[in-house]
Structures are given as C-alpha cells and as structure tokens.
C-alpha cells in the first residue's frame, strides 16, 4: 500500500486490452502496378525513378532508368510515351510529363559523364548481335551488364539504325545518340560497321558465338505502282531521309506530295518543309482519325504548315500532274474507291507507305519461320532455330524505338538464361493501380510544365531540335506531380489517421507495418491512403 496521496486503486495501462480481437477485416499493405509501368514497352520502373527525381536525387533516378533502358536521352525525345496516355494524373489535371523528365535525366547524365559498370563477372560466353538499331543496342547493353562478351555487326556506316536513318535531326540530335551509344561501347561491346551478315552459320562457327540476336530492322520501303512519266520525281521515304542524314539536298521542288499516313509520312513532310518546299501535302486514303501517325506529330506538322488531303489515293502521274481518286469509308471503316478523279500539280512525290524486312540472308537459317514478312519468335524471343533470337521491327510487334528496346532487354534475359543452361523466369505482375483506388484529395493542384517549343516559324527553316528540354527546377516540379499510384511513398497518412495507434512507422525507406494486436479494422488507413497501397481483407473468423 505504497500509493501517492489520494490514490487508492492500482492503475494499469490499456495496452493489456488487445483490441485487435474486434477486427473483422484487416488492412494489408500492397504494391500495385502503376499504369505507366504497365504501359512501358521497355519495362521501365517509371514510378521508381520519378520517386528518386522527386527528392532531387537525379543520379539515382537515372540509374533506375538504366536498369531497363540504356538510351534515356534518346527515349525521352522519340518515345511516343504510352506511359503518359494512361497516367492517372490525366484524370485530375494533365498527365505527368514523364518523357520530359526522362530526357532531362538523360541529358544530365551525358553532361555529368555518368557511367555504368557490368554487374556480373565475365562468363566467357560470346554473343553476336546483328544490327545496331535500338533493339540490338539494348540487347548488347544488357548482355554486357550480365557479363557476356558481345560483338555487334552493323550493315550501315554508323550505329542507331532507324534512329539515325529514319528519325530526322530536329527530333533527335545525333550527338545525343552518339553519346548514349558510346556508353554501351565503353562497357566493352565491340561494334563492327559496314559488316553486312551474309552467312550466319559460317560466321557463328568462324567466330565461335554461343548465341545470336538478330535485329536487322525493316529497311525496305514498300512501293505502290503509280504509272508515271519519264521525268517523274517519285522517291521513297527512307531514300529521302537517308539522303538528308548523309548531307544531301534532294531536289524536291516547290510543291511536294507525301503519300501515306504514318509517322514516317509526318517526318518526311516536315523534312520537306525544311528542305525548302513551300508546300508539303500529305495524301492519305483514310481520315485523320484512322491515321496511324501519333496525334501530337500530326499536330506539330500542322503547326508547321503541312497540309493534308484525306480520303485520297494517287493513281498516276504525267508531266508533274498527279491523278488522284477520291475515296469513301465503308461500314467497316475501309477505304473504297468512288470513281471520282481530279488532278493535283506537284514537283515531286515521296512514298511513305511502310517498310519490309530484308529477308535475303535469313533464308539459309534452319528452322526459322517467316510469316507475313516477319520472323516468328516464341515468348522467349527465340526463333525456330536454337540459340538464334530476334527482336525489333523484324518480329511481329508495333514498330517503335521503345518496343525495340524492350525486345532487346527481354531477349538479353532469355539469352542469359540460355547461356547459363537455365530458363529466365519473369517475375509475376501485380494488379494495376486504377484511378478509382486513389484518394486524390491529398495531391496538390499543379498543371503540367509545358516544354518550351521553338517558334513554329523558326523551326521549319532548320533541322534544329524542335521541342526544348526542362531545367532542374521544372524537372523537379514535373517529377513531383507523380501520384505514386499503387505504391507507398511514405506520406505518413496511415500512421497519422489511425485512432488506435496501430500503425508502426519503420523509418525512411522502410515504410510501415500494422500492429494487429490493436488494429480494430476500421479501414480509415485504407480510405485515406492517397495512392491505394492498403487493401482491406476479410479476417478468417
């Protein structure tokens, strides 16, 4: 009975009362797949690198990109950013400018001279990569990181493939491309230019390769038969773009027709304006809605004064007069001829009708299957021939730089498994973090930082880069617009709003855990989690 004055009863703490027994549902921390990551053809962990960038830790952010994509400065410029098309922030104000931040990080890395080192010890295995386009470069990079010895054979005089000979300079300055390729070469990858592979079997035996990755791209322009006069100026898009890359000044004349509706057609029309054409007219057989070109490229072309003639095909040419036929869309959206003709005067016509894969050397590779002009591969990117993998434009897929880079990475992982006598197992995917799982109240209001675009009148005169970059201040701003959909970003909301102190804060980078001894299962943490990283699950009662 040794109690303070006026105290007669023993006291105890309420911690003896384990209120966790009241619970019928329990909160569980989950990681969901952000829509941006889910959409990225290169498999980047976009949210994670934005997380580093939000803190201003740009080097960590860049290294996170480099885990999946060796070309951030290139990709930040030329990728069609499917990540932004499905960004949940678009439903709030506008999508996070992911490509702009990626480009900023890529440019910063080049300026700062950041580099990567091989992660694994040398395996002594030799891999041949055929083609130094985005897919071949990505595959070579990842194989080098995994400790393999890689040689790249490229038919052209310089690396980059379509990035160099298809994409104009105003979208991708060549010094950016060269800097990122050099980083791959610095990893120990050997590049051989002007080396077109003719006999794959013989080469593999002669130089003792253990595996090969084919990424020769699609460089043969599709043609349309247009009866034309002797003096006609009809050329194909790749011929033109390759010529421009080599420094030629093709004589296109005042008025140029561009036949086709894809991204290449946009590149050609915009290049034509830069080469001095007063009028560049895109002739396409369907409507704008049906055009395969990406909307922002069509918009940029329109801003630069490129004209469009929809629902039209070119049927013949004579003395600078092109006969065109009007089309109409049937119920299925397919263009049908109407029999109504008219003529258009033009000095030249560029065909941008798509490209085919050059299959000549592949014919002798045993077991290889070609369907609809492309090489068939399994889910592991291996062709029908053992040890021969393929990716990029030469396999069935959407033909973009990003898809190609994704193929290169994926193939590298399976090739690594193949060389080590095992099979690479891709980790399972989490469920996608959809917009309805977020509590958007908690995010500050902020519009997107618009990249400063060069004045439209100025840019059509030169091949200077059209879209400007972010600087340190607005890149940080843009990164911080990320909602971190589906993954904890340590906002402390669950820790704060629990009326029962049943959330334990583990410290920076370590997130939180629930104290199920006291959690009553009210669900407030789950409702108030901004990013949808807490799920309520029924208890087994």
């Amino acid at each position: 009975m040794n109690k303070p004055f006026a105290i007669t009863l023993d006291i105890g703490t309420s911690l003896v009362n384990k209120t966790g027994t009241w619970r019928t549902e329990r909160p569980v921390y989950v990681d969901r797949l952000p829509p941006c990551n889910n959409a990225c053809p290169a498999g980047e962990n976009i949210q994670q690198w934005l997380f580093h960038a939000e803190e201003g830790n740009y080097e960590a952010a860049w290294r996170e990109i480099m885990k999946n994509n060796p070309l951030p400065a290139v990709m930040g410029r030329v990728c069609y950013h499917p990540c932004e098309d499905c960004c949940n922030r678009a439903k709030l104000d506008s999508a996070v400018g992911i490509h702009a931040v990626e480009r900023f990080l890529g440019d910063l890395a080049i300026a700062q001279g950041w580099n990567v080192k091989a992660e694994k010890p040398s395996t002594g295995k030799r891999v041949l990569v055929v083609g130094a386009g985005p897919s071949g470069l990505a595959c070579a990079y990842h194989l080098a990181l995994l400790g393999h010895s890689v040689t790249v054979h490229e038919a052209g005089p310089a690396p980059g493939g379509m990035m160099r000979f298809g994409i104009p300079k105003y979208r991708l300055p060549r010094e950016v491309l060269d800097a990122e390729v050099k980083r791959i070469a610095d990893l120990g990858v050997t590049f051989c230019y002007n080396r077109k592979v003719e006999d794959l079997d013989a080469l593999m035996k002669a130089e003792r390769y253990d595996a090969v990755f084919l990424a020769v791209g699609a460089h043969l322009a599709k043609r349309a038969y247009i009866p034309a006069g002797d003096a006609s100026k009809i050329m194909d898009a790749l011929q033109l773009l390759r010529g421009v890359e080599a420094g030629e000044q093709p004589m296109l004349g005042r008025r140029v027709l561009v036949y086709g509706g894809g991204n290449t057609a946009m590149d050609v029309a915009r290049s034509a304006k830069r080469l001095g054409a007063a009028e560049a007219i895109v002739v396409y057989r369907r409507t704008r809605e049906k055009m395969p070109a990406h909307d922002f490229e069509v918009q940029e072309a329109m801003d630069e004064g490129v004209m469009f003639k929809w629902l039209t095909t070119i049927t013949a040419e004579k003395d600078g007069e092109f006969t065109v036929e009007k089309m109409r869309l049937d119920e299925k959206g397919k263009p049908q001829p109407t029999g109504e003709f008219e003529t258009m005067k033009a000095d030249s016509c560029v065909l941008a009708l798509g490209q085919d894969v050059d299959m000549s050397f592949l014919k002798q590779v045993k077991g290889l299957t070609v369907t609809d002009g492309v090489v068939e591969v399994g889910p592991d990117m291996m062709t029908g021939c053992k040890g021969v993998f393929a990716g990029g434009d030469m396999v069935p897929a959407e033909r973009t730089v990003t898809v190609a880079v994704g193929h290169g990475k994926k193939a590298a992982r399976y090739i690594d498994g193949y060389l080590r006598g095992a099979t690479y197992q891709a980790p399972p995917k989490h469920e996608v973090a959809s917009f309805d799982l977020l509590n958007t109240w908690y995010y500050s209001d902020a519009p997107a930082t618009v990249q400063p675009a060069l004045d439209a009148a100025r840019r059509t005169e030169s091949f200077d880069e059209v879209v400007g970059g972010l600087d340190q201040s607005n890149a940080l701003f843009e990164a911080r617009r990320c909602l971190s959909c589906g993954n904890c970003f340590e906002c402390d909301n669950c820790f704060g709003v629990c009326p029962d102190n049943a959330v334990i804060k583990l410290g920076p980078g370590k997130r939180f855990k629930f104290n199920y001894d006291y959690c009553k299962g009210c669900g407030m943490c789950s409702t108030e989690c901004p990013c949808g990283a807490i799920r309520m699950e029924p208890e087994n009662i």
Binding site: W22, E55, S473, R481, F495, G496
Partner: protein
C-alpha cells in the same frame, strides 16, 4: 548552368500527415515516430472513432508546444469512458476526471493551484464532448471564459450524446435522426433550427483565442493548438469529430465525412482573437451538402420524401449562409 528556381511544390504539400519532401522542422507532430501518443492503444472507442483521433491530434500537439508540462481535466462522456475503464488507462498525460458538468471549473482550479504553487511552466487543458460542453457544462464554461482563466478548453463535437445511446444535444444538426429525434411523424429528425453555436458564443466573451478545427485537417488543427498554447487566458477550440456509430457512416469514412462537412460549408473552420474573426480555412473543392449527408444514415430519411428534399434544400441554405458569412470561398468563385 543558371541556379535553379526555388521549388514550392511538394507533391502532396501539407495535405498528407507527413511529407518526405518537406524539411523536418515543418513536418506535422503526428508524422513524428516519437510523438507522445497521448491517447494510447487499447482504448475502447468504437472502430473509426473520430473523437479518439481528435483527442490524440490535439493533445500530442499541445504536449509538444509546452514541452510535456501539461495537465488535463476531462468531462464525463465517451472520451472519459472508453479511455479509463478501471483499472486501465490509455492516457499518457496527467489526466483527471471529475464530473460531467464541471470540467471547465476543474480546469480553472488546476490553473489556480499551479499559479499558487508558482508552477508557471505547467499548462492546463480542459476537454469534453459536445454534451459536456454545449449543454451540461455550459455554465462552468461560460464562467471560465468570463473570468479569463488560463485554460484551453477543447470540445470534441460529435453532435450528440453518443456514450449513452445517441441522444440529441444542442449541437445536433438540423434534420438529423437520433434516439430522441426519431425519423417519424410530420417533422422527422432534429428540428430545423440553427442550433447552439458555442464558438460564436465564446467569441462573445471577447477571450484571447477561439478556433474551430476538424480531424479532416490535421495541419490546421495542430497549428491552432500550438497557437493556443502560446497565449495565456481563456481559450476555446471546437473540433469536429465524426462518430460512425451515431452518424451511421462507414467506419473507414470518418475523415472523409469530416472533410465533406468542411468542404460543403456546413462546418465552417475559422479562428478569432478577442471577439474578431482573424482567419478562415478556405474551401478547396466545394461540394453540395448532399454529398456529405448521403454518407450518413442519420440523414437517410431526408432523401426518401419530397418534404425531405425540401429540408435538404434548407440545409444547403445553412451551408451557403456559412460560406457567405465566414467568407469561405474566394470572391468571384462559381457557386
């Protein structure tokens, strides 16, 4: 390279409890893993209790402001009952319960005792629910204000007598169903009046500081507690704390409901010094009162009849009046 402009954008700013991008010195008390946890685990409040949360928010902030030198008097009510069933206590502050009606008077006594003993470092808080404040303890509270005693009185307003089974108090809002204002007859639910607005009555005593706050806005609440603890004399803080049991809302929606009360204008958040309003929390995303009312079964009868809809319109008029009166949306903003 030019030096980067200072960034004033922090992803979630101060909307979330914590924020790793903010400097540690400007983070909330609740985001600190070393916070006091003045009301500890194991208390017997219902799931999703707004009052338990509000009390921890307020007392943790006060404990930090006065460096742990705090004594608390508590009125009878849910807060007292669920925190101290003999022999357990959830309090990690010096805490005393006397009667239902006299928390303000006990606080006055504590402040006087500290003064006599020369303990100028020890500060006093008296607290209670809306029953113990706006009804039963009102005389003691008014006296404490009138004498300008050095006490911060905190009312956790859950708008009825929840502990005894949801009976109406004079803080119960218009149209709400309670055990004593059932949703039957010609005028179902609570009478359609303006109720008793104790923050405005407190202001009429011309005391140094009066404020309203909500569990939906932690940073605002912590700032007001901190401010209140830095001045002497009688101070009053009114905290809106939803009660899932009495209001008939989902236990996980406590903060959401409180947020909608503020964003609809039904619960104006403001502060006043010496009888003059000096600050208000602006509405960020204005919503019609329906969004607030529909989450709570105590208002569900209003949405079943034409007469009920007319009452919803009257409740909307109350919200609109608050918004105009306290200036809760910027001038020229769309209604």
């Amino acid at each position: 390279m030019t030096s980067p402009l200072p960034i004033k954008f922090y992803q979630t700013g101060t909307f979330t409890v914590g924020n790793r991008l903010l400097d540690v010195s400007v983070r909330s008390v609740q985001s600190d893993s070393q916070r006091n946890n003045s009301l500890n685990s194991g208390h017997r409040a219902c799931q999703g209790c707004g009052e338990a949360l509000g009390a921890r928010y307020a007392l943790d902030a006060a404990m930090r402001a006065v460096n742990g030198r705090l004594v608390v008097a508590n009125a009878t009510g849910c807060l007292e009952v669920f925190s101290t069933p003999y022999p357990e206590s959830s309090w990690r502050v010096a805490w005393l319960h006397s009667l239902f009606a006299n928390a303000a008077a006990v606080g006055t006594g504590m402040a006087a005792a500290m003064k006599v003993k020369g303990r100028t470092d020890v500060r006093v808080i008296a607290q209670g629910g809306d029953g113990g404040t706006v009804d039963i303890g009102f005389a003691c509270l008014s006296g404490m204000f009138e004498r300008n005693d050095d006490v911060l009185y905190i009312c956790y307003d859950n708008e009825a007598y929840m502990n005894t089974g949801v009976q109406r108090s004079s803080a119960t809002p218009a149209g709400a169903r309670t055990a004593t204002t059932p949703a039957v007859g010609e005028a179902p639910g609570n009478v359609m009046n303006q109720g008793k607005n104790v923050p405005l009555i407190a202001m009429a005593h011309f005391i140094p500081y009066v404020a309203t706050a909500s569990v939906a806005d932690l940073r605002d609440l912590e700032t007001k507690v901190d401010k209140a603890m830095r001045v002497h004399g009688a101070r009053y803080l009114h905290v809106h704390v939803p009660c899932p049991l009495g209001w008939g809302c989902d236990t996980g929606d406590t903060i959401k409901v409180a947020r909608l009360a503020a964003e609809s204008g039904l619960y104006p958040i403001f502060e006043a010094e010496y009888g003059e309003i000096t600050g208000r929390r602006m509405i960020r995303k204005r919503v019609p009162v329906d969004e607030y009312l529909k989450l709570q079964s105590r208002f569900s009868h209003l949405f079943k009849t034409t007469e009920g809809r007319a009452r919803v319109a009257q409740i909307q008029a109350i919200a609109d009046r608050n918004i105009a009166r306290f200036g809760l949306v910027p001038e020229g903003a769309p209604a």
